[in-house]
């Protein structure tokens, strides 16, 4: 590199190794428009870029904190933990992957479920943590989802689920696949009990999660520009050997093709969901 360094004018040279005096994490760069954003401003804006409205991925707990009324939360299925029944080992052991995911996210598994309320409307809300092994669905995710539904049935309240998942968890093999059947079957009881289910698809919702409860909402909502589909774009490209159309498998594409009811900005999600639920459950308009 030394010959190159000599060519570069001194004013644009940076001195290697010396750290600038900026605290870590104070500034964030938008993945979409590359604008440099002030962290606390972004926090106040629901992790949506104030410049280009790009919806950044957020964790399960943050999602529920943004969505539910303050102080109303009560978590469901906290004692459930994943087990490595198959002693699955690829380049890494499943147990080690679990441990590292639990450490980085602080969650036991990829779905967090809470009882709570939104603008005073009581409900059960579930949210995926994409940071936990790509939000993949294994036995604990399936069981927590079902317990969320059981809680809806007991309390006679609606269900909201925020999906963000790559699909079924390979390390739990066929047990994961069966979670698709389990979660979808549980929704038949919710439907029979006349309680609404709103599915919110966020970036990304693919594979086994998309092909089960995420597409089964009485109302399907998506966040703007979220990637949503069954097969991943790369798999499709390899299969059909053609370039995928612009915007393929994005929320707007799904809306055009009739797969979802609406696209809602994260900053308006609470208001829209509360309004919809109040109508579906025969309550007067929520006090906004």
């Amino acid at each position: 590199m030394s010959w190159f360094r000599k060519l570069v004018p001194s004013k644009i040279r940076t001195v290697g190794g010396s750290k600038r005096n900026v605290p870590e994490g104070l500034w964030v760069k938008c993945d979409k428009c590359s604008a440099v954003l002030y962290r606390s401003e972004l926090d106040r804006n629901f992790d949506v870029c104030p410049k280009c409205s790009h919806h950044m991925r957020i964790g399960a707990r943050r999602r529920l904190e943004l969505f539910l009324d303050e102080g109303s939360q009560q978590e469901i299925g906290t004692g459930l933990e994943p087990v490595d029944i198959l002693k699955f080992k690829d380049s890494k052991k499943y147990r080690d992957r679990l441990n590292s995911a639990q450490k980085t996210t602080g969650e036991k598994d990829a779905l967090v479920v809470m009882r709570g309320s939104v603008e005073g409307v009581p409900l059960v809300a579930a949210a995926f943590d994409f940071g936990f092994m790509g939000g993949s669905m294994g036995s604990v995710v399936g069981e927590r989802f079902v317990r969320g539904i059981n809680s809806c049935l007991e309390e006679k309240v609606p269900l909201i689920c925020f999906s963000a998942s790559g699909g079924a968890r390979m390390q739990e093999a066929l047990f994961s696949l069966m979670q698709m059947a389990k979660t979808s079957a549980a929704l038949t009881r919710l439907s029979a009990a006349g309680q609404p289910y709103i599915s919110v698809l966020t970036d990304p919702t693919m594979g086994g999660v998309s092909a089960s409860f995420a597409m089964l909402g009485d109302i399907n909502i998506a966040e703007p520009r979220a990637l949503i589909g069954f097969a991943g774009p790369r798999v499709i490209e390899q299969t059909v050997r053609e370039t995928l159309p612009e915007g393929f498998q994005r929320s707007e594409f799904l809306l055009d093709h009739g797969a979802i009811d609406m696209i809602v900005d994260r900053r308006e999600m609470r208001e829209v969901v509360a309004s919809l639920l109040a109508m579906l459950t025969g309550q007067s308009a929520p006090a906004a």
Binding site: K89, A168, M170, M178, G208, A211, M215
Partner: protein
């Protein structure tokens, strides 16, 4: 190399070729070589037995997609009578990767639905290699709802690499089509028996796989992802498919141990394709027995048992 035999079967193929040769000579020679042929036949059988007694999951997954393996239609013509194929989803198209229709099983009217693969290149394309598009799942659902309405038990045959990953399939809602089937199959008011006859490829298989009983042919597989797909994601190399097949536990014996499959239907020596009539007979017997048990329960009990069975899927700990 004989293409009708898999790589691990080549020693058997060589013996069989020798037997064929001798039989051919024997026809016009004066010497009696029948003894020799009988000896070779016994040897071939012993060899097949020894090879098949120690198959690895990867070898079984190759058998499950053996080019000669019987497909749904091969079984339908042997197991049922009065089969009338019914076509179309009434919305978009008739997906030839799934076939369905009414038929009789030992006189009892039933609805039969299954994935269908093609045998030659032309039929393979027509059947899209057994990979359904949304209209295939919607046709299946239409037929299943019709079956429930007329109190016909539903028998499904699973044999697919997976749901088709294509642009049109996504545009028409592949995810929704699969999800809808999972939801509605959970509460179909008629017995449902699902039999994996070849490849049970993930969501594309499960979309006609929710019911009261799951049966598997001995050398079929059922998996959340193909061994090749899993290897390329987790091992970053499709070459590791053999390891992935082992780790995923995709074989009938492993899945029975894990409690995910109710019954294994034994295959003839060398696999289903060696004696299609025999395996069809085994399937017919298993279906008749399971159906006999299921039809004794009331519909309410049947649905409650199905629900509890679905809710029991999963392994976790609770503190």
């Amino acid at each position: 190399m004989n293409l009708n035999f898999l790589e691990f079967e080549q020693p058997i193929a060589e013996l069989e070729a020798k037997i064929d040769e001798l039989t051919y000579i024997g026809d016009d020679a004066d010497v009696n070589i029948n003894d020799e042929i009988a000896k070779l036949k016994a040897k071939s059988e012993a060899l097949t037995e020894s090879i098949f007694s120690g198959l690895t999951p990867w070898q079984i997954s190759q058998l499950a997609r053996h080019p000669q393996r019987p497909y749904t239609m091969d079984y339908i013509i042997r197991i049922f009578t009065d089969f009338h194929e019914l076509h179309g989803d009434r919305c978009f198209a008739d997906d030839r990767a799934i076939i369905g229709g009414v038929a009789r099983l030992e006189g009892i009217a039933v609805m039969v639905i299954g994935h269908q693969k093609g045998r030659d290149t032309k039929e393979k394309l027509e059947r899209n290699f057994g990979m359904p598009r949304p209209e295939g799942y919607r046709k299946a659902l239409r037929l299943m709802n019709m079956a429930a309405r007329f109190k016909l038990p539903i028998l499904t045959f699973i044999d697919t690499p997976g749901a088709y990953p294509g642009i049109g399939a996504e545009e028409r809602g592949q995810s929704e089509a699969i999800a809808r089937n999972l939801f509605e199959m959970a509460e179909l008011k008629t017995p449902v028996i699902c039999t994996v006859i070849g490849e049970g490829g993930s969501g594309g298989a499960l979309a006609i796989g929710v019911g009261d009983r799951t049966l598997m042919l001995q050398y079929s597989t059922y998996s959340v992802i193909s061994p090749e797909g899993c290897a390329s994601i987790l091992w970053k190399s499709a070459e590791k498919a053999e390891d992935a097949a082992e780790a995923l536990g995709i074989t009938s014996t492993r899945l029975k141990e894990l409690g995910l499959v109710d019954r294994i239907i034994g295959e003839p020596l060398g696999g289903a394709h060696r004696d299609v009539d025999a395996i069809a007979g085994n399937i017919k017997q298993a279906l008749a027995e399971e159906l006999g048990q299921l039809t004794t329960a009331s519909i309410d009990d049947l649905l409650e048992n199905r629900y509890q069975r679905l809710m029991a899927y999963g392994e976790f700990t609770e503190r």
